[in-house]
Symmetry: C2
Subunit: 213 residues, 2 copies
Amino acid sequence: MSWSKDDRESPRGYHHGNLKEALLRAALELIAQKGPAGFTFAEAARWAGVSPAAPYRHFRDRDELLASVALRGFNQFAAALAQAWDDGRPEFFTAFDRLGKAYLEFARAEPAYYSAMFEAAIPLAGNSELREAGDRAFAVLRAAAEKLCAQTPAKARPPALMVALHIWAISHGIASLFGRGDAARRTLPMSPEDLLEAEVLIYLRGLGVSAAT
Amino acid sequence: MSWSKDDRESPRGYHHGNLKEALLRAALELIAQKGPAGFTFAEAARWAGVSPAAPYRHFRDRDELLASVALRGFNQFAAALAQAWDDGRPEFFTAFDRLGKAYLEFARAEPAYYSAMFEAAIPLAGNSELREAGDRAFAVLRAAAEKLCAQTPAKARPPALMVALHIWAISHGIASLFGRGDAARRTLPMSPEDLLEAEVLIYLRGLGVSAAT
DNA sequence: TGTACATCAGTGAACGCGCGTTCACTGATGTAC
DNA sequence: TGTACATCAGTGAACGCGCGTTCACTGATGTAC
């Protein structure tokens, strides 16, 4: 990440100019290195090349910075999922497959965001912005589930919400057990993508939806 | 947990007598309260009513204590799963259902163990004991997958290992998103158990196995 | 059974360290007129 | 366009704190004979 070095070493005046942004980046980098619990306010300040008191101008405390990272993560996650899903275009199975791959790709490429979002145990109560960002990401899964349900035989059609939760659980399970970009990863006889694809195909068949359709 | 108070306040001589055990319990309690990254060696010692230097007689450092907690967790997890599965008795579906419920029950009842096992990112390299304990737990899922595959139509029978990984991913996904006993839990329109049962039924149908059989 | 001695398990004081947080401050920026 | 002033954003020194770790030590336990 060349920007980090540039950011830190480029000469600047008394004012940083973009400290809030720099702190978010620093936190992200530190989370990637040591996990959400292993980064400190002071270290983020050092990373941004600023005195330890400076971050207090932008974040009330460490938890608020962490929540901001998670918020940004959810926004990027929602955008990535929405782009992959693309409202089911050109047809359902292609889009659904892209959606699953995008989920895993996000967890792999952005393990720091992913763990801030799902493992930092940030309390959602009182942070409606964060909750809404999470809901927006889930809404993409939900929309895909709606379209999926529309293809199932009407007599045994399950609630779309439940299907969305199933898809989420499958994706999250594979991502967090096998598909993380960091050291927690376990070795496998197949790629996480293949594992997910096979699992989703079996699940779809169970719903009475055939990929050949 | 009444034992904790008793353990701490009961008079004892110069020697604790059971310090290793007390430290493991203290670590477990602290992990339950603040997560795997939020407990300290010093605090575990205080919990056990002992000087901060005492733990060094039993664990090289904090990480070794944490790994011991995870090890114990995997052992209990393997035992709970094996007991629930009971080699598929009296017949497959009953046992398989019990297995899934036991998985969720463990995550709910023992969130501290569960997070030490799956979220503490303890390096497995060089800790063969821990790896083997994890493998023993997975072996139960694997055995269930074998029996499941034996029931699927032979022509489209998937590898048992893959099926075991699918089951693991489904269970872990639901457990970590919705079924944790701590605050990270999200609210749901249905119980994690029902969600898991429905998901597994769909997955089984996709494999060509019918619960009615 | 008693005694001498080795080993074990915990003590408590000490250390250096980095963290979170505060404070009065100051340099830079923006704005009213 | 210039000037006075308010506000903003970062400084740097300071503080108390708990942590990890070490050290020489000591009380308790076990064992050989």
